[in-house]
């Protein structure tokens, strides 16, 4: 969908005012042919990235990592270690860039903030200053809105969001209401995103579609547009808590959506595949997907992130391999 085609449509900001308009718009989006989309993603997966391009891609990928831990067993000690690693992923190599963000549950945000911003920064003030992210900053992301299922009343989700922001998160990863989406209550999904967007204040909002539960690429495209229309700064594939997480074709469909959305509205939205991306090879495939679908404008941590944990160490190992020429071993990198 191009700017020309979209300009014929009514003002997109009006769509959210009526269930009928929203439904008509989402169901009028072009379909996604599953076979074709998967073949295209697979074809891009055969790109061969070598030498200098690979070194560049690895450093970029490190800067795009949202270093994540979302476990019931998370403790202040665990998330502090993670935050320290986010700042200096490879203690042996000062030229190694820091990651994009640390992503934790709201209750863990203060401990991460301590490490990332120092005790003086403290909770509360960090959120206020962080809205447009400056270079050299590791962001502090928190999942909110009754993550991962999102099965809670709106007030709970709003309180969850506000608490995370107040504790120092400058990025909020919310989940959409899949129950409402799958029953066709698009207005409800939309209104919820709008409300959370507002509760975020200056924090950036990433909207998790949980594509594994949406099941079809047509749904992924519709949910992407719905989230963007409602004000998402980022659209994100998955919580990592259901078996089917990020895949290249799902990410391809979402990239096409942000590309078309910018063409239609002029506003750029970021994309974050999350879950299941474990190796440097995987990460580079995603960067190729970005490069060839939406181009260089998105090849930046402000516009593309990886939700991952084990990916970082593989990136570090491959980075060392490029420098030393020898394959690295896992014992030479920090584990948390």
């Amino acid at each position: 969908m191009t700017a020309t085609a979209m300009s014929a449509r009514p003002d997109l900001t009006e769509l959210g005012r009526s269930e009928t308009a929203l439904r008509g718009f989402l169901h009028g989006l072009p379909g996604v042919d599953q076979v074709g989309a998967e073949q295209r993603a697979a074809q891009l997966g055969t790109r061969s990235i070598k030498a200098t391009a690979k070194a560049w891609a690895i450093d970029l990928a490190i800067r795009m990592v949202d270093l994540t831990t979302l476990e019931g067993a998370d403790t202040p000690g665990k998330v502090r270690a993670l935050a320290a690693k986010a700042l200096r992923p490879d203690p042996a190599d000062p030229s190694c860039p820091h990651v994009g963000a640390v992503c934790v549950y709201p209750s863990m945000v203060p401990y991460v903030a301590e490490v990332l911003r120092g005790p003086a920064g403290g909770a509360g003030s960090a959120g206020a200053e962080a809205a447009p992210a400056g270079a050299g900053v590791v962001h502090l992301a928190s999942v909110a809105t009754a993550f991962p299922a999102g099965q809670a009343p709106l007030e709970v989700k709003l309180a969850d969001t506000r608490a995370a922001v107040a504790a120092g998160a400058d990025e909020i990863d919310m989940v959409i209401n899949r129950s409402a989406f799958l029953t066709g209550r698009y207005q409800e999904v939309y209104d919820e995103v709008v409300a959370i967007r507002e509760a975020c204040g200056p924090a950036h909002l990433k909207v998790i579609l949980e594509t594994g539960e949406l099941s079809t690429y047509d749904n992924v495209r519709r949910a992407s547009w719905l989230a963007m229309l409602a004000g998402a700064d980022f659209i994100k594939t998955s919580t990592g808590k259901v078996p089917a997480a990020a895949t290249p074709p799902v990410t391809l469909v979402m990239l096409e959506a942000v590309r078309d959305f910018r063409a239609a509205t002029g506003r750029q939205v970021g994309v974050k595949p999350a879950g299941g991306i474990k190796t440097t090879k995987d990460a580079i495939k995603y960067l190729v997907l970005v490069n060839e679908t939406v181009g260089a404008d998105w090849l930046d941590p402000d516009w593309f992130r990886f939700g991952a944990s084990s990916l970082l160490n593989d990136l570090l190992m491959q980075r060392t391999k490029l420098t030393t020429g020898d394959y690295a071993g896992p014992d030479y990198f920090t584990r948390d």
Binding site: M1, T2, T4, A5, P30, G31, V32, D33, V35, G36, A37, Q39, R40, T46, R47, S48, I49, K50, A51, T52, A53, K54, W56, A57, E256, L287, V288, N291, E292, A296, L299
Partner: protein, 476 residues
């Protein structure tokens, strides 16, 4: 920017000899009355090897070798044993596929990504599929005990050298025929490596004979009186000449010729996949594809939108070194073909259509043509009627399904067509009305050994592949 560094596939897997003889009666022989010619790498114009130019006497020798092998060994052999030889060949191709792919890209100019991921897997699959038929011909639907024809003369083009060889040799051998095959003048090398594979498989001598050469070699082969079957893939012009040459004889003939396929995009198409399909339809293999989707028919309600997406996508195409694993579009196969493409493209400009190519740097040496589209094309323009056989797309528009059918069918050709719509019912309605041997729906340029391929009208007759393809080599 994300600039991919060059990722060249290693050439070292291929051992080229300085000169190649003819493969007759199970061994490589010098031509008796022939000369030789050079085969070059179209991406660099570097000479790859000296190739024997088969003459009339060489053709006769090859046909006699094939006849002897047919009478004494291959004809009487039980299907079960023929099957085993074909399975062996299939396996050898799988084992040596990287070598074959690199050689194909060197000699033909096609990107290694395509020779590696498309051509070679299909070649192996084609032998594997037909191996299975060798002892099952009674079940193929032609009645009990269908018989082979005898000696098959086979002439193949340069666009898919090894794949076309497979399409010819696999069904011929499976059904019990022996063959004399002439590869295209500019692309003999993989056929000669295939001859080595036949030796490695211990295929009985004379079952497969490869006579390299040019047009005159082909003419001698087609006109040889002891040939029972002629199978030709190439231009419609030569196809007609062959049809005239075999007129009045008992020789069975199948022809797979040119095309000017319509690729029809409706307003309810899955747009992103349609754009991929358009690109794959015309830029796959540099557009050197007889079934290429060279006429894009866009429904007017989405024409601007699709064109904008198409141009954006074309800007991503990587033109260059065929052996680079990231190359999407390789070299034009020959200087002659490049001249032909340029001449027709210039005609398009002269006739007042709008020409567009993405910015792309072409190498200094070798034969190259940037991916090109022409808009504002009507049925009256030469570029909408003549087969260009290059990376050149003519864009037309239509308003209704009926108009799409009318325009799509308004050509003397009838090889293939593409339809893009999410509405299955419309797709099938259209498929019924399109005069084309293959109709792709929401995909394009897909091939499979189980699926018959071939054209209507001046795109030729007979089918290759599937159960139907066996008929071309059986006395039924």
């Amino acid at each position: 920017m994300f600039e991919y560094a060059p990722a060249p596939e290693s050439r070292s897997v291929v051992q080229l000899q300085p000169a190649y003889g003819l493969f007759v009666g199970g061994e490589f022989v010098d031509p008796t009355d022939g000369d030789s010619f050079t085969s070059i790498n179209p991406a660099s114009e570097e000479v790859l090897a000296e190739i024997a130019l088969g003459g009339v006497g060489d053709v006769d020798r090859a046909v006699r070798a094939a006849r002897t092998a047919y009478d004494r060994v291959w004809g009487p052999m039980p299907g079960r044993d023929r099957a085993k030889y074909l399975f062996r060949i299939a396996r050898l191709i799988q084992e040596r596929s990287r070598e074959l792919a690199v050689l194909e890209s060197l000699d033909n100019g096609k990107p290694i990504r395509e020779s590696r991921d498309v051509d070679l897997p299909l070649v192996a699959a084609h032998f594997f599929y037909h191996a299975g038929w060798a002892d099952k011909l009674d079940h193929a639907g032609f009645g009990p005990g269908p018989r082979p024809l005898g000696v098959a003369a086979q002439i193949i083009p340069w666009n898919f050298p090894l794949l076309m060889l497979a399409w010819k040799i696999a069904p011929a051998l499976a059904t019990g025929n022996t063959v004399v095959l002439k590869p295209a003048e500019t692309t003999s090398l993989t056929a000669l490596l295939f001859a080595e594979i036949c030796q490695q498989a211990d295929l009985p001598a004379g079952v497969v004979n490869i006579v390299t050469g040019a047009g005159e070699t082909g003419r001698a082969l087609v006109e040889h009186p002891d040939v029972d079957k002629v199978a030709f893939t190439g231009s419609t012009e030569v196809g007609k000449a062959i049809a005239r040459a075999v007129a009045g004889t008992d020789t069975k003939l199948t022809l797979e010729l040119g095309g000017k396929a319509a690729n029809i995009v409706f307003d309810d198409a899955p747009v992103d996949q349609a754009v991929e399909g358009i690109v794959n339809g015309i830029f796959f293999n540099q557009g050197h594809v007889c079934c290429a989707g060279s006429r894009l028919l866009l429904q007017e309600s989405v024409a601007d939108e699709v064109l904008a997406s198409l141009k954006r996508r074309m800007a991503q195409l990587r033109v260059g070194d065929p052996l680079d694993k990231n190359t999407d579009i390789g070299a034009i196969n020959s200087a002659a073909q490049l001249a032909r493409i340029s001449e027709l493209a210039d005609a398009g400009t002269a006739e007042g259509t709008q020409r567009w190519s993405p910015p792309c740097e072409l190498p200094d040496r070798g034969f190259w043509f940037a991916p090109t589209i022409f808009t504002g094309v009507t049925q009256a323009h030469r570029i909408a009627r003549e087969e260009i056989f290059g990376p050149v797309l003519s864009v037309l528009t239509f308003r209704t399904p009926a108009e799409a059918v009318e325009k799509a069918n308004n050509t003397p050709y009838g090889l293939s067509a593409g339809v893009w719509t999410e509405k299955g019912s419309r797709m099938l309605w259209l498929a019924d009305r399109l005069r084309a041997g293959v109709v792709w729906a929401n995909t394009f340029n897909k091939f499979d050994p189980t699926a018959p391929f071939g054209g209507y009208q001046e795109s030729g007759y007979g089918r290759e592949g599937g159960r139907h393809g066996l008929e071309a080599y059986l006395n039924v």
